[in-house]
């Protein structure tokens, strides 16, 4: 009984850390899909880019860890503005198929570029000393890195929710998700709003990729391999919502960790099966507004 309890606590803890990272990465996707109706399958590219920025900054330039995280956010966010202005914005009204194809093309290019520049091996993440040990929480020892991931993500999520629920920018975003034409007609500059929100969402993906670099390994096939999970978080949680993907990410994080721990022979089978069942039950996701 004690052993089961201990492994359950461990699964819940590791699952929560994984889920938090999934959420920080995917929340931007939820907002951009809800806001712009853009089917962006290349979202994982931003997360991978963040991971590469972090590992390069840490191991090649000896940048301190917190600064490297900030750098991942900034670099990826800035790069995404360029992509949004020159490429994404051309396809806002183009329909789903061109968007899907275009972003798949981006994924192919990013995978190849990552392999050319960084090789096909997984990137080592040289964590600082203060994140490598164990931390005692409620009489149990947990790895410090994962405690940090959970705490840091919680801080970001709180800031993001405050931003969306309590600031003028958040009100504009929510108004545009609800009714874009009406938002435009009362004078909201949706073009600028799209750009900023896209940059923020992509920056968060970069930050999530960097933060979770020791949980979700940084390697060239990253955007392919984890795409399904990012999309599951968004579609199960519900487009354009903030809370839905949070619940979905935690469910997937804990569920996936539990399956891999107790039923390793089934792999990700149950996650996909549960996703299909859930989407059939509620096609708009758990917290989706449009049924």
């Amino acid at each position: 009984m004690e052993a089961l309890l201990s492994s359950a606590a461990s699964v819940a803890f590791h699952g929560a850390a994984y889920g938090m990272v999934l959420y920080v990465i995917s929340v931007g996707l939820s907002v951009t899909m809800g806001l712009m109706g853009f089917a962006n399958l290349a979202h994982g590219v931003f997360a991978m880019a963040g991971g590469y920025v972090l590992t390069t900054a840490l191991s090649r330039f000896g940048v301190p860890f917190p600064l490297a995280l900030l750098l991942a956010f900034g670099v990826v966010g800035a790069a995404s503005i360029v992509l949004e202005r020159f490429l994404y914005s051309r396809l806002y009204t183009a329909g789903e198929l061109p968007q899907v194809l275009f972003t798949i093309g981006l994924v192919f290019m990013a995978v190849a570029a990552a392999r050319l520049v960084f090789g096909s091996l997984q990137q080592p993440v040289p964590l600082p000393d203060y994140l490598t040990g164990q931390v005692s929480v409620l009489g149990r020892d947990f790895p410090a890195y994962r405690v940090f991931v959970i705490a840091f993500s919680a801080g970001i999520i709180a800031a993001l929710w405050f931003g969306v629920e309590r600031t003028l920018w958040g009100a504009m975003v929510r108004a545009t998700v609800d009714n874009r034409a009406m938002a435009q007609s009362i004078g909201i500059d949706t073009r600028r709003l799209f750009m900023l929100t896209f940059a923020l969402g992509s920056g968060l993906a970069g930050l999530g990729g960097a933060l979770g670099a020791d949980i979700i390994a940084i390697e060239p096939t990253y955007p392919f391999e984890h795409l399904a999970y990012f999309l599951i978080v968004v579609s199960v949680g519900g487009l354009g919502s903030l809370r839905g993907p949070f619940v979905a990410a935690l469910l997937i994080g804990v569920g996936d960790t539990a399956c891999k721990y107790w039923l390793p022979q089934f792999g990700a089978f149950f996650v996909y099966a549960a996703t299909i069942a859930l989407l059939l039950w509620r096609p708009a996701g758990l917290f989706g507004r449009r049924a």
């Binding site: 899909m33 198929l97 275009f102 798949i104 994924v107 190849a112 999309l231 089978f269 096609p283």
Partner: protein, 322 residues
Amino acid sequence: MSRGGSYAADHRVRAIEWLPWVAAIAAFFLLPDYLPLGARVLTYILFALSLDLILGYAGIITLGHSAFFGLGAYVAGILSARFGVADPMVQLAASALAGALLGISTGAVILRTQGLTQLMLTLAVGALCLEIANRATSITGGADGLSGVTVAPILGQFRFDLFGKTAYLWCLAVLFAGWFLARRLIYSPFGVALTGTRENSARMHAIGAPVYWRQVIVYTFSAAMAGVAGALLTQTSQFVGLNVLGFEPSGELLVMLILGGVGRIYGAFVGPLVFLVAQDFLSKQFPEYWYFGIGLLLVIVVLFAHGGLLGIGDALLARRRR
């Protein structure tokens, strides 16, 4: 979004439509060294044609079409390697049936949804199939692949030879049958109704057309066709690997079809031909650049050339006539 050439009332085969078949037979005699590559091209043309039916004509976007292809490949392989069923006709029939069953059971639920949810469901079905093939190692061979596939002579007469002559002609014959059926379907009133659904689903609903059932039927037909293509791949390569399943093969197939031109029968012919021949020459020397190149190509086609290669050809012809 309008794509050319699908409303034609005249369903008779035009003279130029015999060109691919003449070329295929000419290739058989003129390029004996490239017959294995040729068989691969023919297989993927059939696969691309099946995707074209649902994506190009019915307008259903899928990220998991490789599920049916992979299922067909594994059904043929497992029948041969585990149960000793080596007759190629039986294998094809079983793969078609398996594809159709998976197609109707997943299509019936997936096609009730729309947009991102539909996209996600196709992706999840594909990922689920990959996961099953990866984990059920005692049946599928898992990551090592399924070897020991044997194929008996066709009709007890034509043995699969080392040079790939029989395999090439076999693929050509099956593709011809698939082309014939797909063409009949596209030019039938059913096919025109599908195009109507693609162009304006709400209006088709409004005139009382059974949109959902038509989509389920074409999805099932397409799945069976993809299953046959998968079986052909198994029979010609006598091996099944995990790389027939998952997101990557689905993505590559999309690239092939888009490259040729989506929503036109012969786009599915041109795309795989150009893609696989280029891959054969380029990917060995520059694997990374090749991958980067197809991504770039996809982006360029989407941004600047909606109709793919055949669309560019049309535009050039139209300019000359003017």
